[in-house]
Structure formats: C-alpha cells, structure tokens
Symmetry: C2
Subunit: 203 residues, 2 copies
DNA sequence: GTCTATATAAGGATAGAC
DNA sequence: GTCTATCCTTATATAGAC
C-alpha cells in the first residue's frame, strides 16, 4: 500500500467532512471509504473529535508557513506593493484547493469550520495561527500609514470573508467548460487582489 | 401560550441548527427546547428535511422583499449612487441579524447552508430568490457601463462573500464593550459599502 | 496493527390511545 | 392536535482473538 492506514483515514475523513459535515459524516463512512476497519479510527486517533483536529493540523501548518515565507520574501523587496502582500495572503490559500489528494476538500472543511462558530476551534486557530494574521496586519499597516488601525482591521476582515467564500467555491460564478480548476483559481486570485487593493486604498 | 406549536418548533430548530448544524441538532433537542412533544415535528412538518426548508422560507421571503423594495426606491431617484444600490443589498441582510426572535441565529444557519454546499439547497435558493440577484446585477451594470459583464459578476461574487461572512459574524473584529449589537451592525454595513464601492469602481 | 463481534446509546419515524 | 410507547436504523466505542 502506498499510504498508511492513518493517512488513508485522514484523507477519507477530510473528504467526507467536506461533503457531509463533522456530525453528518460517520466513522463507518470514513473507515469504509478509507478501506480500513472501523476500529482503526479509535486505535489511531482515540476519538472522532481528535480525528477532526488532526485533519486541520495536517494542512494548516504548511499553508501558513507558505504565507509567511511569501510575505517575508515580498518585504525584502525595495518597494513592496500592496498587491504583493495581498498575493502572499491570498494565493497560497487558493492554491491549497489545487493540492492533489484532497486540498479541494479541505478548503470546504475549513469553510464548514467557520460556519460552525465553534469556540474551541476558534481558539485552536487563533492560538496556532494568530501570529500569521498579526504579521500580515503589520505589513499592510506599513504600506497604508494614513489608515486608522481600527479601519484597517475592518477592511482586512472583509478581505478574509471574501477569501473564505472564494476558497470554498460558494459563489455563483460558473466556470466555462474549458476553464480548468487551476485557471479558475488563478482568475479568482487576480480578481480578489484587484478588488481588495482598491478597497484597502480607499480613503 | 403566545406562539403556536408550529412556530415554537421553527424557532427552536433555527436556534439549534445555528448552534449544532442540521445533522448535529436532533429532533429530540428541537422538541425539547420548543417544549412540544417529539411526535409534533412529524405531525406538522412531515420530516426533518422539510422542517429545514421551512426554517429558510420563514426569513428569506421577507429579506428579499425588503431588498427589492429598497432597490426600487433607490432607482426612482434622479441620480442613484452606487452606494445606494449596495446599501439596498447589504443593509437588509445585516439588519436581519437584529430581528427579535432569532434573526441572529438565522444568519448563522444561512452561513452553514452555504458551507454545506448542498445542491438541492442551492437549487432552492436559486429558484426562489435568483431573480433578486439578477435585478441587482442589472442595477449595478447600469451604473458601471464601462465594466465588462463577466468582470462585474466576479466582483459581485466577492461582495456576496464578504457580506455572508459579515452576516455570520465570523470575523475577528472585537466589539468594544460599549458597542451595541445594532451599532456594530451599522458599522459593518458602512465599512462594507465603502469597501465594495471602491472595489466595484476600480478600473 | 488489524480483525470480528458486540455493548450501549441515540437517531428519525410511526402507531394508536386520548 | 397532542400524548406515550416503540420500531428500526445507525451511531460511537470497546473487548478480545489473531
């Protein structure tokens, strides 16, 4: 087998959580899709709840590492543009949906997690990845020195909302038959960056 | 009793769907919260699935009627501004969260519904309320005659995303202690309208 | 580490008395 | 229209053989 039992469970869980939600996807469905025994979940993860946590950790570590490295690369430029900072925030997130082995499913899991409004999950995300947001906020503030801090936070919140929505492909934009997943993703990133830079610069 | 059994079930279901999701909230929880008998759900609604549909219909009819009447009022003005059309789209939606008797819960149910990616629900929303979006798109197109149609759809999609996110109060914006729910909502609407009008006008 | 078998609980739905 | 009682299915979790 190419993938271990543990990895197959994580992959199947991600897919089924995206499809049916955390409560809606049963461990029976998961283990059946992963082609492992029902009891394997409790052996490897202890409980369904912990399995959910591990599904998140598997992707978010890498996503935020990419965001930060791209951000820092942009900041070493002589004259970083607002669009570059936005790209560092947006592109790795949208690119995640192109990852082979279920990245597309994961972004929908993420959207569900937001909708869940789950306090313990918010805490998990804030504790583990809050510093990333802080670093981006500082980078935007440096490029928009006349913008009030509170005003900046409002606008970054709007950008995050539009990004979350775009990641999960909620929208009504219909892909033309010939447009590949990758091309759609790049188009979405371009439009978001353009729209957001105008909104952020507005005075 | 002030509310009928049917209304109490709808209210309790809305609250619990917001809290635990459609799969996560059981009919036993719903009927217990509504202080009605378990069998009452099947008597009044036939099934859990149909109960979910009725929870949506109860709010969306009024929301979209308000959006359309505000839009049409704005359009009778001599020189309607882009901001007015945006306000007609955004303000009734955010105001919904202020409705007494569970409007706040409903917007979270709506966010969950988006995250569900449920095809039959998308069809329901599209069939019943798609004409509203069309009318708004036409109004925006009239005010932005140089903007390519496809480009306009992309941007409206971004606005919808940010609005959905704001409605569900996903964001990281902390309300200062003294800021009321209503004031927060009005601030959110103002920021969204300002940000979105800049993004839409961008060339 | 993986299996079968099962304990135990909770779910949606319904039948039938009142 | 509302109740109790119950059917049937599905769920999570675990025990114990291999």
């Amino acid at each position: 087998m190419q993938f271990s039992t543990k990895e197959r469970i994580l992959g199947a869980a991600e897919m089924l959580f995206a499809q049916h939600g955390f409560a809606g996807a049963s461990l029976r469905q998961v283990t059946s899709a992963a082609k492992v025994n029902l009891a394997a979940v409790n052996y490897h993860f202890g409980s369904k709840e912990n399995l959910i946590n591990e599904v998140f950790r598997r992707r978010l570590d890498e996503l935020n590492a990419r965001r930060l490295s791209t951000l820092r690369a942009a900041q070493t430029e002589a004259n970083p543009r607002l669009e570059d900072i936005l790209a560092a925030f947006i592109k790795p997130a949208l690119a995640l949906s192109l990852d082979r082995n279920g990245g597309g499913a994961f972004v929908r899991v993420l959207a569900r997690a937001y909708a869940e409004h789950n306090e313990s999950l918010r805490k998990f995300l804030s504790d583990n990845y809050g510093h990333v947001l802080k670093e981006f906020a500082a980078a935007f503030a440096a490029l928009l020195p006349t913008l009030d801090k509170q005003e900046l936070y409002w606008r970054l919140d709007i950008v995050s909302g539009a990004l979350t929505y775009a990641m999960a492909d909620f929208g009504v934009i219909k892909r033309r038959g010939a447009v590949s997943e990758q091309a759609h993703c790049e188009l979405a990133a371009e439009h978001l960056i353009k729209f957001a830079s105008a909104g952020l610069r507005e005075r």
